[in-house]
Symmetry: C2
Subunit: 464 residues, 2 copies
């Protein structure tokens, strides 16, 4: 039987999953591939550390260089993370004509283009299904299944940690600090959860996805990013009254679909726009110069929609494309086995290219120079504004006037009764689609009123 | 620029979509493929008929033979349907070393194995993403993304027509005849809807999916198939009370997961077992000889689950696999553009194989001789039984005794009050997991009671 030699750098959670899947599913993989995948080298920082998977002593090394120098390693599997050593390893592998599988979204978001260019020069492949939404074959779908189509928008729940926390807050009414502590205790959040709760992890993933979907060169700073730390149980309660669920959503879309979206947002009923509405699919709007918007923020979405049903540590990506219309992929976001499985699928795919001598069969995503980025100030969506005001006559009228002056049209207002007269009372306004800069300016103005008792809370609304 | 010549047989709904996508997305496709796809021949039964897409006169023919004889046609796209002429065309193409793309599930379900064997012999490819769930890349996912994994179960809403009808019945309380008539008026159901409403179409698709997921050789007759024609609005109302949605589900699964499912069914709360429960993923149960069960029938599923949220003419497939856990794909079920898009993605994929000289890169699904089929009598699931009984004392006790004698354990009972004494009254029993043969025998017995006023209605329950 023919063999494909691989080398694995890093044996953390995902690396352990990869080795265990390669071992346990060996018969299936050999039957499907007609060849054997052989692990020739494993690079470990600390070979003495005890691990869940056993590795044969003879193939373990602590030096990256050993991996690069081994002529029997055709595929380098980079699972060390970060953008320093990992970059050097991937670059070194590509330079030596080795193929690469990586699950490192940070590396791809920061330096992907450089690595893709090098791979194309050298006629080798870089596969990275494990980098975004481990258990969801989104990379493959964007690269291959939708090759015949033109994607218009992408809405994703791409961070399992925050989705776990928001689900707990929604379902059990927990405050954020408790939900986060529970997620940490159960292993769904890391000891330092900053990258997840800040939205940074989701923004990196969005960069990787936007390149495939739109050919857009985005850095993390190009993504309007807002984390979940400011969310309060109260916002979940209000949202429910308006028929919304609250999710940390990664959104990227071509701005030309605006006209169609105007309609969709106005129909944002609890029944869920997703299934019934549908953008005007193949009905052929012209191809104007491409501009996209890219953002990650807590988002109210219709409670009955499919994305609202994605609970716990799961991930999902909803795509809209011209021919296909809406489509959605759902699965586990991370973990040894889901992400390990994505990595092994990549190894198998690469092995097929090697065995059939067809590297570069699916070209890496081209960066289209002509894709523009809409400035954050120009973003448009619906807005939920929770004002905290003194309960005196005329406050609503004054706020409404301020909003109207900035062309922000009100869809609904709700105000809670309060106990003591003249005290602080929440006043919630849901707007129709408005311009980000206008909304921010209006809030700044309202926040300066002497009747405003606390900073106004803003949550964006989407009908994906 | 290099060229790949294709020939298209049949220019109905899907064929029209294919040509229109090839034309409208030509720049994107050429950029991604680095080659041009050229339609060399189009076979039409009636070239004079007016069509939505224009075809250059010079390439039109009425003879299949012209397609087969054209040396510049490397890929034959079969879109004529049926299992007669379509079989001859596909076989002829494979014999001449041409690759094939087909969207013909009936052909694959009936004679797929023979064609796959021939393709393997000739070293050419058969791609068929369009054959099952047009807008859902399920074939590609099973063939490639899950190549590293072992699938344990598959639950699909794979027929858009019946899902449209059931959604209308559930949401608007319509009787089936009205919902069907409306679906026909809107183009979601054909004038003769038999293949759809009988479950036959879904069963054919399940055969195609089960071969990929489990290597099982199934014919349509191997699938326990029950259509939707007997469903009444009343069953939707009862289902809702128990926390269920009603869907026509295609189910295939390895029988070894029984033990794990026992638990899942008992937890079948309205909150939805899908997201939180999860079978014991990578926890390594042994690999016993494979037996699968395969069935298509109206099914109660938890109202809060993701599949329950799939409404209208949409399709979705939920997979459970050892490493990945649960994953779901959702999209449009059929139509010119979604299915056309799937066919064009196949053409692009095949073109990549042709250009990189790697045909057979992903082998066709092997039929594993050792996959057994569980007899329909041995199927196990939960059951909803709606008895219509005379409202006299002792009826419930008698039915409960009959069920107990066959080891059918009752999870819940509900009985409606009625107006006139001694008249017919519905009595609904929901069982825990039971054996199909036992349930059928118990129903037959109850249906012979003099207190039974109408045939008992049975609907199976799953917690996918």
């Amino acid at each position: 039987m023919r063999e494909v030699g691989i080398g694995v750098a890093g044996l953390g959670t995902v690396g352990g999953g990869v080795l265990s899947i390669l071992e346990r599913h060996q018969p299936e993989i050999e039957a499907r591939l007609g060849a054997r995948i052989v692990v020739r080298k494993v690079v470990l920082r600390n070979p003495e550390k005890s691990r869940a998977v056993e590795v044969e002593k003879g193939i373990v090394t602590t030096r990256m260089q050993d991996l690069l120098d081994d002529p029997d390693v055709a595929v380098v599997v980079e699972l060390i993370g970060g953008t320093g050593e990992a970059f050097d390893l991937v670059k070194g592998a590509l330079e030596r004509g080795k193929h690469v599988v990586t699950a490192n979204k940070a590396l791809l978001a920061a330096r992907g283009e450089e690595l893709f260019r090098l791979a194309a020069e050298k006629g080798v492949d870089v596969y990275y299904e494990g980098a975004v939404c481990g258990g969801v074959p989104i990379i493959r779908t964007l690269r291959e299944a939708l090759a015949s189509d033109r994607i218009t928008s992408l809405h994703g729940i791409v961070n399992g940690t925050t989705n776990y926390i928001l689900s707990a807050m929604a379902e059990e009414g927990k405050p954020l600090s408790k939900a986060l502590a529970e997620a940490q205790r159960l292993g769904f959040a890391e000891a330092d959860p900053t990258l997840d709760v800040s939205g940074g992890d989701a923004a990196q993933k969005l960069c990787v996805l936007a390149q495939l979907a739109f050919g857009a060169r985005l850095g993390q700073k190009d993504v309007l990013t807002e984390g979940i730390m400011g969310l309060e149980p109260e916002d979940f309660v209000w949202g429910r009254e308006f028929g919304y669920a609250l999710k940390l959503l990664a959104v990227a879309r071509r701005c030309q679909v605006e006209a169609a979206l105007d309609r969709a947002v106005d129909e944002s009923s609890p029944a869920g726009g997703l299934v019934e509405s549908g953008l005007p699919g193949g009905s052929g709007w012209p191809y104007p110069p491409d501009t996209i918007e890219a953002r990650v923020h807590p988002t109210f979405i219709p409670a009955g929609s499919l994305l609202a049903g994605v609970r716990g540590a799961f991930n999902a990506v909803l795509l809209r494309s011209e021919a296909l219309g809406p489509s959605l992929l759902f699965g586990q976001g991370a973990g040894a086995m889901p992400t390990g499985s994505a990595v092994v699928s990549d190894i198998i795919d690469l092995s097929r290219n090697i065995l059939s001598r067809s590297p570069g069969r699916v070209p890496l995503p081209p960066a289209q120079a002509r894709v523009g980025l809409r400035p954050h100030a120009e973003i448009r969506c619906g807005y939920y504004l929770r004002f905290t005001v003194k309960d005196v006559p005329g406050v609503l009228a004054r706020i409404a006037t301020t909003l109207a002056a900035r062309s922000i049209s009100i869809a609904a207002v709700q105000q809670r009764e309060q106990n003591e007269e003249g005290g602080a009372v929440p006043l919630v306004i849901v707007s129709h689609r408005a311009r980000e800069a206008d909304v921010q300016a209006a809030i700044a103005e309202v926040d300066r009123y002497d009747t405003t008792m606390a900073r106004t809370r803003l949550i964006r609304i989407e009908s994906p």
